[in-house]
Each structure stands twice: as C-alpha cells, then as structure tokens.
Subunit: 189 residues, 2 copies
C-alpha cells in the first residue's frame, strides 16, 4: 500500500536489532486518517471472503483491528496475554514466545467469543518471526473455526515468518512488506 | 446514551467488588457497530469544541479512543504504563494507582506527541475513582496543552471520581453513568 510505504520512508526510524520505529504514526501516536485508509484496504482485499470476526492480540494490534472491524462491520475479539498458564476453564490457550520482549506468555480467549461457526480474519500490527500469528492460528484451530486470512500493517519479510506460513497455505496480506532494511534504506517487496 | 444503557442492562454482568463485566461487547469482544455509534456521539457532544488530539491510556481505552479519533479525524496518542519510574529524558510522566489491579505504575508519553498547541480530549473506557483520569489530566498540564474535555464509555458515579473532577470544572461526558448497581438492578443517572 503506497500511502503506508511512503509514511514508513518519511517517518520510520531504524534502530539496532532490526527494530523499525513507527511511533509517530502507528504506535504511540496514531494517524487515524492513515489507519482508516488501511482498514478500507483490508476490507477491499477480503471483499470476496466470508469474515464473521476479527481476532487480534493485545495490545499493539488493537487499533488496526478495531479500525478494520469498523470498516468491515464485524466484531473484534482480543486474545489476552497471561503470564501464568494457570488460567481457568472455559478458554482456548496457547503459549507464545515474544521476539521483541524475550519472554513467553499464554495467549488466551474465552470460549464464549469464538465458535466453530466463525470465519476469522487475524489482524496485527507487525509480522516478523510469526510467533504471535502462529499462536492466534492455533486459537482459531482449537475453536474449530475457519481461518479466513491474515492482515498485517508491516511485515518484516527478511525475518521469514510470513513466507513460512504462506508456504503452508495461509493467506497473508501485508500492507507494507519490507524485504530488506539497512541504516540507509528500506526495500519493499 | 440509550443504546449503550440497553446493552449494559441486557449483557452486563455484576461481579463481587462492584465489577461490571462487559466483556461480550466492550472489552474482550467489541461490538464495532455500537462502538461506531458511541464514537459518533462523542463527536457530536464535542462538535463546538476545538480538539486536536485524543489521549488515552493503554490498553483498555484504545478501542474507544481509536473509534473516536476516526470519527473526529484527529490523531490518537497512548500513555504507556511503566512499572519503573526509571524512564529516560524526553517524556511526561505521572504515577497512577490502579483501583482494579491494586498497583502503582507510571503513565508516560513522549514529549514529541503532545505540545502546548494541543487541545486534548481524554478518552477512556471506565471512570470510577478517577485515578487514571487524574494522571492523564496531569500529563496534559505538564505539556502545557489545553484540556478540551473527557469522554468515558461507562462511569460508575457511585465511586465519586467523576463528580470530584466536575466540581473542579472538568467537562466529563459519560455515555452511560451508573448511579447505583446491585445484584438485581442498575440505575442510570
């Protein structure tokens, strides 16, 4: 998506450890006009596909998921991060290891909010190694729901998580897909 | 707001400790049609007021803040919660004690995203004792910005935080204002 790529080139900052800082328009501060345009793009990409629910994981994916949910007119559900695996009965749960924060948490959702009738679009801000996404796909599987696809704001293609899942047949639409990133330049696929 | 009050009466669950559970439509799962209607209501309530930015605190206020930001066409900024007060230079920071989680954290925002030019609408999901809100008002004050007002999804009026701030001249618009809550009934103001 041209608009997002231009914004990344203009406002993004590359930090050590392959971190792309987009705090001025996607994270700490959100440009809601850009966000709306991205949500419309997701709606358009999935217009031929049945989607009954959007799933994301707290907290950095919430803004994009809510914008997409508003654009598409479907409910949004959040997987919550629990430090302990000691959470009670009526939930789906999966352990996820965070690349950014170097820890492992359990992603959980209540069984009340995801059923085998649902067609789920998973939405998140970043896709790198794909650990959070693999966890969310597992939650969809546990519920017996159908995975409609995935929508990502920014994919770091060079970290390989997205292509591994595409090879398994998962539909992933990334609005900006970065193939390489150095201090001097960013190359989009 | 009638629509929200009806939803609270139909779907809300009252738990021990004056907890109102609204997970099925506001928290864990978000009814995006209701959320859009609430955002339009906020836009309408503040239509005579200059608003250049929406401020919320992660993570439960993000959905409502983003919806309001989209409706009003202004950027949204998030105060982040830091466990330590040992955060570096270019930030505004204030300690907040959480009623729900029985802990104290620092609410921080980068100085890049809030300036003395800004007219700030603070948006949050719940207002009870008002500690998080008082913290956000302090961040606005530190930046030398103007407080345009406050928009809340659900205020627990019987916990007094909202009325204390109204008495100090803060404009607070709560879309549902609960005056009393028992196992059998909820009374709105």
């Amino acid at each position: 998506m041209k608009l997002l790529e231009e914004m990344i080139l203009r406002e993004g900052k590359i930090l050590p450890g392959d971190i792309l800082k987009v705090g001025s328009f996607l994270n700490q501060q959100i440009d809601t006009k850009l966000l709306s345009a991205m949500a419309e793009e997701v709606k358009n990409l999935y217009k031929e596909t049945t989607v009954t629910k959007i799933l994301t994981i707290e907290s950095s994916g919430i803004a994009f998921a809510v914008a997409a949910g508003i654009a598409m007119g479907v409910p949004v559900i959040f997987a919550k991060k629990h430090q302990s695996s000691n959470v009670d009965g009526e939930i789906y749960s999966v352990p996820v290891t965070s690349y950014t924060h170097h820890n492992t948490y359990n992603a959980v959702i209540s069984k009340d909010y995801l059923t085998s009738e649902d067609h789920v679009l998973i939405v998140d801000d970043f896709l790198a190694t794909g650990n959070a996404l693999i966890g969310m796909i597992e939650l969809v599987r546990q519920a017996g729901a159908t995975l409609a696809g995935v929508a990502i704001e920014i994919e770091k293609g060079f970290q390989g998580g997205g292509d591994k899942l595409r090879a398994q047949g998962v539909r992933i639409e990334s609005l900006a897909l970065i193939d390489s990133m150095t201090d001097e330049s960013i190359t989009f696929r």
